[in-house]
């Protein structure tokens, strides 16, 4: 009587599987929702306070209209991004709980802090 053929169990490659799952997840995940713009000009954020909706992802466009590079930094939002002179950078935040989230220009501490007001 012929013996049943034994097949080796498939080798699992956890890192590859993890990477594929993560990439597939990201590919399917929804991008950020509403878009808001903050301008850096003449050593200040405009607007200095920006009201945004709480509870949803947001896309912040930081438009640096000065000649020098600036750095958008916020411990409250856990974001840090260099914005070269006369260019824009996109920063994704949220969903935020209602509250005030301050940000600064780390390369130019004379710039008054700005804030997102989530409500």
């Amino acid at each position: 009587m012929p013996q049943p053929m034994r097949t080796a169990p498939p080798r699992r490659k956890p890192l590859a599987a993890m990477a594929a799952a993560a990439l597939a997840y990201c590919a399917c995940a929804a991008a950020a929702g509403d878009e808001f713009t903050i301008v850096i000009r003449d050593g200040r954020f405009e607007p200095a306070e920006l009201r945004v909706p709480a509870g949803q992802k947001l896309k912040l466009v930081v438009d640096n209209r000065s000649a020098s590079a600036e750095e958008f930094e916020s411990y409250d939002l856990d974001r840090e991004k260099i914005v070269p002179g006369n260019s824009r950078a996109t920063i994704f935040v949220g969903p935020l709980k209602p509250g005030r989230y301050e940000f600064i220009d780390e390369l130019n501490r004379r710039t008054p802090p700005g804030a997102l007001i989530a409500e």
């Binding site: 995940a29 950020a32 856990d78 780390e106 501490r109």
Partner: protein, 247 residues
């Protein structure tokens, strides 16, 4: 990772090399990678760790690194590493490259990748390569990280078995100068995980984090953890710390 005394008996040298190799995967100076990169960031880094092994022996490791974020997605760093055990020390150079694959917060999970090459300072000792996937998820003031790494050694042109290393951490971002949470490190010799002794080293414990701003862009960051062995073959206790000066 090795620079041993020439008079050391060969058997002892081999066992130390083996210890150092194992420690390289879950060594006392290891740290949890995070996937984010900030363009232009320069960093001087010091890592130190000391561990009491499952057999009661003491080992320690130090590492000095200099890193630079070349682009908004690529951070590269060179390290000089030293490990000590049983009265002898071993040295290596390491080149680490970290890649941010997604913008922070763009998707539900932030992705990054790390690739490392470790070159021994002593002829005949193994090279080591590491390739890993880095995940981060932020929920309000909580930050969660989970990393999976493949670590492989090469000796005399012969590749050794690939080991699976994982790292995790969870921290509460209370305030910049003081954040607290927990960290864990593990190594799995074979996958899927088997129950026999030696197949899985895991350690975990409480951790503190923080940063202090100096002038301008300069920041001093720290993190430290006290890890307890969670499996029979893991180090009983490990203290590890990392101090970074960003400028």
């Amino acid at each position: 990772m090795r620079s041993l005394l020439p008079t050391m008996p060969r058997t002892f040298a081999v066992s130390l090399a083996c210890c150092a190799a194992a420690a390289a995967h879950a060594g006392p100076a290891d740290y949890v990678f995070t996937p984010h990169v900030v363009q232009g960031e320069r960093e001087l880094e010091l890592k130190y760790g000391t561990a009491r092994g499952a057999d009661g022996s003491r080992s320690s490791a130090e590492s000095l690194g200099l890193g630079y974020a070349v682009t908004g997605n690529w951070f590269t760093e060179l390290y000089a590493n030293r490990e000590s055990a049983a009265g002898a020390s071993a040295r290596a150079h390491e080149w680490e490259n970290k890649f941010m694959l997604t913008e922070p917060g763009e998707y539900d999970v932030d992705l990054g990748m790390v690739a490392e090459l470790e070159v021994p300072q002593r002829n005949g000792d193994p090279y080591e390569s590491t390739l890993g996937l880095l995940l981060q998820k932020d929920v309000d003031r909580m930050q969660f990280n989970l990393n999976g790494l493949l670590v492989r050694q090469f000796h005399d042109g012969q590749p050794h078995r690939t080991e699976h290393v994982y790292q995790w951490q969870a921290k509460y971002r209370w305030r910049p100068a003081l954040e607290f949470g927990a960290q864990g490190f593990g190594r799995v010799e074979r996958w899927p995980l088997r129950s026999e002794a030696g197949g899985h080293d895991a350690a975990m414990g409480p951790a503190l984090f923080g940063m202090l701003h100096a002038d301008g862009r300069s920041v001093l960051k720290y993190n430290a953890a006290l890890l307890f062995g969670a499996t029979d073959t893991a180090a009983r206790r490990t203290f590890r710390t990392q101090i970074e000066y960003e400028f």
